[in-house]
């Protein structure tokens, strides 16, 4: 049980090992305040949709043998939860909503969310295992996002050559982080 959590957190980290969620990873990690809030919103969406998708898959899709409908149903579940998340953010956490702005609806197109749910289904985990896996992966997502936002703040003050500034140096740092995470 705990080995699933640790591997999901570090060894099979969602961003670094499975390449999921790079768009938002490069996008929102410039200031660490919105990196954290972005992470929390994503984890809320993932956990809630894992629960719902597991139930749908177990009691609707498999009995009626329409597993090819998985993609569509899961995407709709995620999209609806993102709308729910946006409403909550608008009402309760006004300032975070303002600072995150356009990145909130982007969670639907965040491959990490959909990827985690798909891995849960593919590995045919039971309910408890898939919840732990989702929790581990999202924590891994938030961890890497937070560390990376701190590193990018430091990279701002370096005098990197012009053609490598911004995205390329961020990718190289992420690559080195991925190599280190693979060895833990």
């Amino acid at each position: 049980m705990s080995s699933i959590f640790i591997t999901a957190l570090i060894a099979e980290n969602v961003i670094l090992n499975k390449f999921l969620g790079i768009c938002s990873f490069l996008g929102t990690s410039n200031k660490e305040k919105n990196a954290l809030s972005m992470g929390i919103c994503t984890s809320f969406v993932v956990l809630s949709s894992t629960l719902l998708t597991y139930l749908i898959n177990k009691y609707i899709l498999i009995p009626t043998d329409s597993t090819y409908l998985q993609t569509i149903t899961f995407i709709l579940v995620i999209a609806s939860f993102v709308q729910v998340n946006e409403l909550i953010m608008k009402r309760y956490f006004k300032d975070i909503y303002k600072s995150l702005g356009i990145y909130l609806p982007l969670i639907t197109t965040n491959c990490a969310v959909f990827g985690i749910i798909l891995t849960n289904i593919k590995m045919n985990y039971n309910l408890l295992e898939s919840m732990i896996n989702s929790l581990g992966s999202t924590l891994g997502f938030v961890l890497v996002l937070y560390i990376f936002s701190l590193l990018r703040e430091k990279l701002e003050t370096n005098n990197i050559i012009k053609s490598f500034k911004g995205i390329p140096i961020a990718l190289i740092t992420a690559g080195i982080m991925a190599l280190i995470f693979a060895r833990i």
Binding site: C23, A79, C111
Partner: protein
Amino acid sequence: MKIFKYLFKENPVFVLVLGLCSTLAVTTTFEKSYMMGLVVMIILILSNLIVSLIRKYVNNEIRIPVYIIIISTLVTIIEIFLSRYSKPLYDSFGIYLPLVVVNCIILGRALSYASKHKVINSLKDALKCGIGYLVAISIIGLLREVLGNGTLTLMNDISSLTGYKEVIRIFNGNIFPNKLFLTSGGAFILLGIIIGFINSIKKGKEV
């Protein structure tokens, strides 16, 4: 020449750094990458086509859910087609084939371009983006496999479909098949260096 423009000017992967999520993981072999590039291109063209066709009847609020439904149906069709005709390719894609639904390029082009322009323009744009994406992905796939594994699989998994099996072994010495490029970290670093290299060439040309 146009190809040069596709590759450097607005290439979705190298310049806009979009749509990386579902693709980098698959580029361990050249064949898988150009197949994934083809899949994405076909879906892009079809989705742009449909989106620009129905752009008048769709108002602004429900744009995103509708487009997502369109794209996911297309992806499911492709999934069924692949799982029936080339099972090994379908297996090797694993969870990354359904992930094409959330690929930022397709939804991005649909939202920003197709929903506002005529069918012909959006088709042209889809073609441009599709080719740029295909070229970029296959270059990455080529580099990663040749340097990392020393082999070049032109057609292996889908041999049942095309009946032509071809795996060329290029490097076998102890220097070159350097497993770094097969690891996920290696892919990040390789992509970073490629984009940096292209930036320096673009900067060279402009200044």
